[in-house]
Symmetry: C2
Subunit: 379 residues, 2 copies
């Protein structure tokens, strides 16, 4: 008997309270009762996004919201800067190309964060309409310096800063208005601890100005139409009702915890995991690790996929392996969303057992010991 | 104390068994366990669509799948025929225009079904690449003659028959392969009795040929990519996991009932509702009513919105009012999905109480009596 345990960077576990909430009856969306829920959700999302702008809800996965960012603000032939430091960076330029936009790709080696100077020098040419970047590059566990990047575009009316924060929002501080982020994107199945199927996007007033002149074809992802609808607590098309009901609960739980505590918890869980892994003689793959997940580099000669597989097959625990360039070299442990201190004891303990099975030399309990040391700060 | 009762044509009530299933833990989608669920769902959807083709799942509302039909098979400048007999017919040509496609609109008066001859004569010009139609036009309760329309395009390689069956599939017989439907679209929140957020689309081999030459920009709704993924029980982007888990249960329940019984049940519920309404001196709005929902025309001088409002406010029951041209003239009762015989007694009884409050002259119980007469056939 092994309980199912999910430590992947999305989908993340759904909080019990939320699952029960979503199991209640479906309310029709054109009713006052549902509009009341949307009103609460609107308010909660503005709080989470740290913005005065409306946050729009889309019934789609995060990629749908990424596509909406492009097709609502740009035109075919536009040139944009894309930070590509992993799988999701790649997605930005593939999305751009699919719509006839010309990406200038800043290739960042996997595991590294972009140097804002790389963006700054390119921006000086005045050729580019937007900078696309991930706050958390899930494939490498890297945090890109969003504050510094947003500062480069903040004073300028001709260029947008577009941030995919799908696996970051709610785990790390990303004050949209204060930093001057022009489009901020999130998904339900990460820090919000909801099932996948709902995505979020907010636009700055600068981005809304871009939207005025954008002529790319769109319908389902037409954000101007969604803006009009959300202002009356509605949506253009049938919303993902059960997820919106769960979202209200998720936001309520987050607000009870408070933004500062939320970020402090993610920071503590991330540090605990990193210290645990280092105590086992493993390396942290990301040069600038994000607090949402920890990508762990295994020693030469070891196959990281085997750790993934042992945890899956013997312990019914899903972590994530490495993708593409990092396949076999890393495994990834998520700690964003509905995770608490003792969950980190569990997952590091499981990794120890997997490492032992693979013949890795270390003292059993040393990883968990390092985790406990970090956790003791608080307890 | 009034229980919440939902009789709107989508979202429809979620079956208890499905709600509980979806409240279970979230399984990661890149696991064998989830792939096993997708494999079952694939099989079940082929059964429901009555096709040998793959049915693709999209994390979106039905409109997303409608847009995917257009952007995956056509090109800007293409001419198409659109049957517009209500709100959803309108959606087809608006979607087409958003992508630079030129719709020839066959305006059908609200409440009427299209005459296939209207399509036939236009098709003879050889100008058109596709015919777009609804199986069930939810705004009017009309069934368009899909079999006859599909027969017009069946023998031809140059034109597709595209059917929005969002509020029809599972309620009425639409054998995709046998009738020669080229694209068939459905949504989760109708006959499947799931929450909204999941849409379905299947393409005939002719439609897949069209896809080869389609150059409209797409990414999230790229069906070729989804086809490759579904063939390995995966999806290109994070799927709406909880809904897919619910879908397995929904399909299991439907298969237990059987296709013939499913259609017979919807036919019986529809006839019971129609007879009940007629016994109350009301008219059926649709000249050719679909078995998914019943649009009821109120007598001159009565405001149909008031019936909607009384049911909502006094009985906590959501039906649907009329939209646009039919606003105030009709109300709509759904009976697709998780509805049984006695539900029709409930809803017609509630309508009787609302009519009595509005001073309509009729004998209390006469509507329900007519419902019972139809139900007695079976019991």
């Amino acid at each position: 008997m092994n309980k199912y345990r999910l430590f992947a960077p999305g989908p993340t576990p759904v909080a019990d309270e939320i699952a029960l909430e979503m199991a209640g009856p479906i309310i029709h969306h054109r009713t006052k009762e549902f509009e009341k829920i949307v009103a609460e959700v609107r308010d909660g999302l503005k709080w989470l996004f740290q913005t005065k702008q409306e946050v729009m809800l889309l019934a789609s996965s995060g990629t749908g919201a990424m596509e909406s960012a492009i097709i609502n603000t740009l035109n075919a032939g536009d040139q944009v800067i894309v930070v590509d430091g992993g799988k999701f960076g790649e997605r930005w330029w593939k999305l751009a190309q699919a719509h006839g936009i010309k990406p200038e790709i800043i290739k960042v080696p996997w595991g590294e964060a972009v140097d804002p100077k790389e963006i700054e020098t390119r921006l000086q040419t005045g050729k580019y309409r937007a900078v696309f970047v991930q706050a958390s590059e899930s494939s490498t566990g890297v945090y890109h310096p969003i504050r510094e990047i947003a500062a480069l575009t903040k004073g300028r009316e001709d260029v947008l800063c577009v941030v995919d924060a799908i696996s970051a929002l709610g785990a790390v501080n990303l004050p949209m208005d204060e930093w001057g982020i022009d489009m901020l994107i999130a998904g339900s199945q990460k820090a919000l601890s909801l099932p996948p199927g709902l995505a979020f996007i907010a636009l700055s007033s600068k981005a809304w100005k871009f939207a005025e002149s954008s002529k790319l074809p769109k319908f389902y992802f037409d954000l101007k139409r969604e803006l009009k609808n959300i202002q009356t607590n509605q949506s253009a098309f049938t919303p993902a009702i059960s997820l919106v009901i769960g979202l209200r609960k998720a936001l309520e739980m987050m607000r009870e915890e408070g933004l500062e505590q939320l970020f402090a918890r993610h920071d503590r869980l991330a540090r605990a995991t990193r210290e645990g892994m280092k105590a086992l003689g493993l390396k942290i793959y990301a040069k600038v690790p994000v607090n949402s997940l920890t990508a762990v580099q295994v020693p030469e000669g070891m196959d990281a996929q085997k750790i993934y597989k042992i945890l899956q097959d013997k312990f019914n625990m899903t972590i994530a392996g490495g993708q593409d360039a990092a396949k076999g070299k890393i495994f990834r442990i998520a700690h964003l969303g509905w995770f608490d201190d003792l969950d980190m004891v569990t997952v590091v303990g499981a990794v120890e057992l997997a490492l032992a099975e693979l013949g890795h030399k270390f003292e059993l309990g040393s990883g968990v010991g390092a985790v406990l040391k970090v956790l003791r700060e608080k307890h």
